[in-house]
Subunit: 238 residues, 6 copies
């Protein structure tokens, strides 16, 4: 089975890290291909970045011609999910919803620990649209930007501090609220004695599940195929 | 990996059917063991049956001593899930929530087609507690009892009729609302041109996912281990 | 009028205390009979206990042959209510919902003070299913186990501390969140200058109300009579 | 115990009918006094009438000097309830909320059958503010005005037609949505084979319950006593 | 265009202040007329005052015979809005809803800073009925009475303290929760570096918008014209 | 005052029509400039189109250098609003939210009549995120594509048919659910005897209101300025 994982930004190193996380989660028969958009933001932090990212990811998917049994969209809280469902003929799983779906199975309320506080709104809206917001106790920011997550020590500490706020708000399970946090779940989970769900890993498992059960996106109603029409994908300006 | 699938009633044939469905969904390295409660109702249809079933299933699980990496609870809309999460040290997935989680990934709204109308309340409450009720457009009954599902032709027709009501209410994906419907998804899906999710299959995939990611039920808050105390499991009356 | 009050656990002393509370609340023409399940947990603290308790209480009710005009179920936050509604031909009132119904009449938001924090989820779900969760500002635990409530001084102090948290969350009325707290309402109410509702007393008054108005559980839809079928009530194991 | 029942309009005959219903529901030791506002609308049908009625009722209550252990406000869906809670030192129960509280104990969803469709909004808002809207399946109008209810035959027929619409929407219990319908519950309940709750009777029982348990409105927060200040109660214009 | 602004209390100075705020907000072609009810409370603080105010305002409007293209109701959180919509043939805008509508356009969550804590319930209910409660993060009291707002220094300080609580609760925009705060928005907005919306100004702009677009209250359903009947507007007692 | 109105697609004729509607609504001192994205879809119908449109509109806004006191985004149900709020230093009003805000002032429930059924999900999500979904009774499709709206007769008929469905669902006010419907409101409103709100006109009035009150988007939290970073706006592929 071929799973295509799309980074939501143009930073190649992040794609590689995401692919590493995806491969670690994938089953024996699964091949993972990572895609980095040729355009868009170097990191997605806020609504403007998120819309730019969504379109760049859709452009990447529509021009991708390799093998693909399922798509994993690896931008936590970023837009585009529903557009990808219209576009491709295979299941699409977004890491935001994926982490929440698994978290719901592990405790009565879950919390999301993300990068900047400003991302909270997007994440809340994304969980709501995916139908899994109800048991989310809190979305808490660490104050770290996406491209600051390289400093593992600092990231762990900030994560643990934020996680305690989520726990006070009722969270019994935690979700890593950024694709760039992939890999943190084990170290942090032990320190906190709480299950920690990584969205990339979760999305890979859900994508494999859908493919192996032969399930595909419904074409009735919301996610019908895009209508044929004239579309221009960017003016090519810097 | 060993997955234990518990039937919610005492009807051995139904356990066998459920196990067949679970094995068809399971990955290559997964062994499925079916358990039939030694007591409880012969089918679960209503709240009284559901509570009786829940306790019988918990009794079955606490006295089971075989290998077990995850538990799948195969009673659609039946109680007991949270008690099992307290009891066992491995992930627990209920077919009600499992079907809903996957259905959310395939369309914007899903519908449940179940047996008797009287089960609607339990199913709605179960989806709500699991945190996935929001995108449920409708729970519709076929009017068939659990033990009537053997008549495949009649079941398919009743399912399709009920499915149309769900679709009018906005459902873009369907969920089989009874463990005894397992196997129906392909035939009915083709007729309706809609994805149809079987809870048993969905739960097996989610259980495999949690196990392979090393995720376990949170012990913080709701699902802490049962406190040590005196408990008597039934008076043994008929 | 005969009201049957069912304890949710096997501790006889607690049944007696509950019956004392029920009798204090009952009107002149009302007789109160207390029932202690022959099996189940010695106290209900958590989901596993709650399901076990529910089935034991249903077994107790179905084998009770004395006079009965209404049933009061005296397990705060415990399951079983809907099953009892199917089973018996008289009104059934649960102390969780009863306390909430009266509390809604006394202030704009109410709070529940219960035993262990782990019970919060069950209580919230029970209030939700009963249709009275909306005006609940908070469910707060005292940290005391059910069988620790005998120490009146310690219980009162823990209650007052927890009550202050509920008040900060907006509660204008308090609910005693455990049948074993019956009797505490007057002492604590004076200290806090807030109305405090005891579920046992509330349920007795609501049961008397329904009986005197000739109102019975609806048989249309959710609470139809249990279908005739083979059911086994426990394996008789310890 | 003395219960004061306030009609919401100036029609003396309606007060008498309401008082008859209240007396039929009251316990042996309860005396019922009916009050008719000296001003206000002759029937309350719509928001303007409802506000006018609320103030006239509050004026009636503040100038009433007879015995009073509890107040029952007998305007279905009409305003004023919270103001009365501030004003008097005894429990206040509104027939809208009272009927809903009892209905919740009798089925999983209830429906309200009222007079004109235009009252639906007020009733929905009143149930919501009272914290009992969640399990309301539908509020349905009969198309009859308040002062048309004298024609019993026509009222019963219109009620049954509307009740069927409520039932299709999921109602398992019905509520009489107008004080002027008091007395209809038995005849209609038999025809429909559903429990039918009359708000006047329900409110009397709830008022008796609160009084006998020594419970009073909370003075913390929302329902503190009105502040001393200059108030003028109407200009006396026709 | 003539806009009639109704004060909700009998304090003439407050009407004048409100009219000053309204005129400052009004466009070049708009004339503002302020009305002070001839009866009612001298300030509205609590539910009893609010209902009294609502009826006095409705009486004022029904007996007003001057020019009127739209009505602005200037009581924050006070009742009456829907009655006025039934009564007059021009658009009606309430300052509570108006401030919330504009606040929603300026940030993802807004907070209301009002006078006494006891008003919170009314404001929450008013926002809910208007359909704009969802993005309200908090309603916070300053502890100042309506007639204490004359002390500008003290009011500003209390406002800023309360505003910080709203901001911690997630508010990104603030709403002045009392007509008597009109004029505070600029000073406080600068100190807090947050947009601050004054309901009087907001309502004037929304009223102008509706009038210039030729939009009027719907007569279908909720806000149909009051039915012709006998109504008495107060007994004329002090 | 200069208001910039952005079409959400590349069809110049539609921009012109929108600008005509905007100018008709604008006050005497307001100048309206219409912008057509240089890239994107020729019409926005579905999620893929909507994300593409959002990014194209943001690109258009960031490279626009003319005068601008407020931005009106004229894509009904289309994405991008929050990104524009981050990007520009002037108020941003989207026609979806604008129509809903005004509709809430005119009736208790409103309905949206849009083009294709597939747009319903986006519109519902957009109303929800804007905080004005609560009073929306229904979003109903006419079955007409965006570029089919030129046939006025057919459009009117389809609109009236769909409007009746919205009305049955409780709508008392209607909203034109597509920028291309601008101009229809008067003809259809008369036929239906219901107020009909056009989003373009509504947004212009709300934008004027915000500007004249000196209100700007909050920079605290969600809508902080985009962070400086490398962004590429499209690959320039067709």
């Amino acid at each position: 089975m071929h799973i295509v994982v799309t980074n939501c930004n143009t930073t190649q190193e992040m794609t590689e890290e995401i692919v590493r996380g995806a491969r670690a989660a994938a089953g024996p028969g699964t091949t993972v291909t990572g895609l980095t958009p040729a355009w868009g933001p170097e990191s997605a932090e806020g609504w403007l970045d998120s819309y730019l990212s969504a379109t760049a990811v859709l452009d990447t998917l529509r021009t991708y011609e390799g093998p693909c049994d399922a798509v994993v969209m690896a931008g936590f809280g970023e837009h585009g999910r529903e557009g990808a469902r219209e576009l491709v003929n295979v299941p699409v799983v977004d890491i935001t919803e994926a982490a929440a779906h698994l978290a719901c199975l592990l405790g009565r309320r879950y919390g999301v620990v993300t990068t900047l506080e400003r991302s909270r709104g997007q994440i809340e809206d994304s969980l709501y649209a995916a139908g899994v917001a109800q048991n989310c106790a809190a979305v808490v920011g660490t104050g770290l930007g996406v491209l600051d997550l390289g400093d593992v020590q600092r990231t762990q500490e900030a994560f643990v501090t934020a996680a305690e706020r989520a726990r006070e708000a009722g969270a019994e399970v935690l979700v890593l609220g950024c694709a760039g946090m992939t890999g943190l779940q084990r170290a942090v989970g032990e320190k906190l004695d709480l299950p920690v769900v990584d969205g990339v890993a979760a999305a890979v498992k859900l994508a494999e599940s859908l493919v192996s059960l032969g399930l595909r996106t419904s074409r009735v109603g919301s996610y019908a195929r895009p209508l044929p029409k004239r579309r221009v994908w960017g003016a090519g300006r810097g």
